[in-house]
Subunit: 164 residues, 2 copies
């Protein structure tokens, strides 16, 4: 990792290409972004070293193999000292079935995304959380009945200020 460099339109094209195809070859990438292989490869290396490319991952379509329950959960803590937030977050981070956790403003403290084998497993997970006394005051469960969209590809063009 190093200081965040400015991104020009070619860097953006590189990021967009590897977001969509993480196993694209350096030659095909160079071709796609309109550079020759060497400078393209040097840019990619710089983006990786800067931590802008944080990793490469295969996406698994788990539903092809087995049904899975996805649940969104709102959580409010009983007390709001820094230590209470820290304890809660530390526990959450260690539970693999909790695949996302956002601290939010607006009525509740956290929104979590949980994946489990089924609703029973989800409820057992919740029960075990409540038993562990990690400061949960109230929670609310939204069972996901359909995943309309779940993008791995970020809309970089919309997120980055023009030319960097």
């Amino acid at each position: 990792m190093m200081a965040a460099p400015k991104l020009d339109p070619i860097d953006l094209k590189i990021l967009n290409a590897i977001q969509r195809d993480g196993r694209i070859t350096k030659l095909a990438l160079a071709d796609k972004v309109g550079l020759s292989p060497t400078p393209c490869w040097m840019r990619l290396r710089k983006l990786e070293k800067a931590g802008i490319v944080s990793g490469y991952h295969a996406s698994i379509a788990i539903r092809v193999v087995a049904p899975v329950a996805t649940v969104l959960m709102e959580v409010t803590l009983a007390s709001h000292r820094q230590a209470d937030f820290d304890r809660f977050e530390r526990v959450i981070r260690d539970i693999p079935e909790i695949v996302a956790c956002w601290s939010v403003g607006g009525g509740v403290d956290y929104v979590l995304k949980v994946m489990a084998r089924d609703i029973d497993s989800y409820q057992r997970l919740v029960d075990s959380l409540l038993e562990r006394e990690i400061g949960i005051d109230r929670y609310f469960t939204y069972i996901v009945t359909k995943t309309v969209k779940d993008e791995t590809v970020l809309p970089l063009a919309d997120l980055l200020p023009p030319h960097s």
Copy 2:
């Protein structure tokens, strides 16, 4: 894509390895799962062909380059005919800044995850959605103040029934 095959423990190891490192070489993968390269490669190909491996993607740490606003949004539609859901979902799917959308049971119809340059951009997006008359009755905004966790790696061992 083909029929869902059963997954044995070695398939699971392969999936876990490529989830964590999408650019691992076939030799290193074979070594890691305790197979020689050819059978390992054939298993991987089968997993890809079956659609269980749905793609390979680079993860971009956008925050290293520029600040980004993440927002969770609850949406309730005004009327609940199939056509109303379809219209809403069709519009949502075409908006890149809406990176996720879950249809849920429990008080509201949808929960959305939106990424935008800042809160202003988010609000403009919401305003444009309301103007488009796609049936939104009420919405509620949760501004994400901290992403505690956002895993790309699924807890396969917890999600799959023992031995397939």
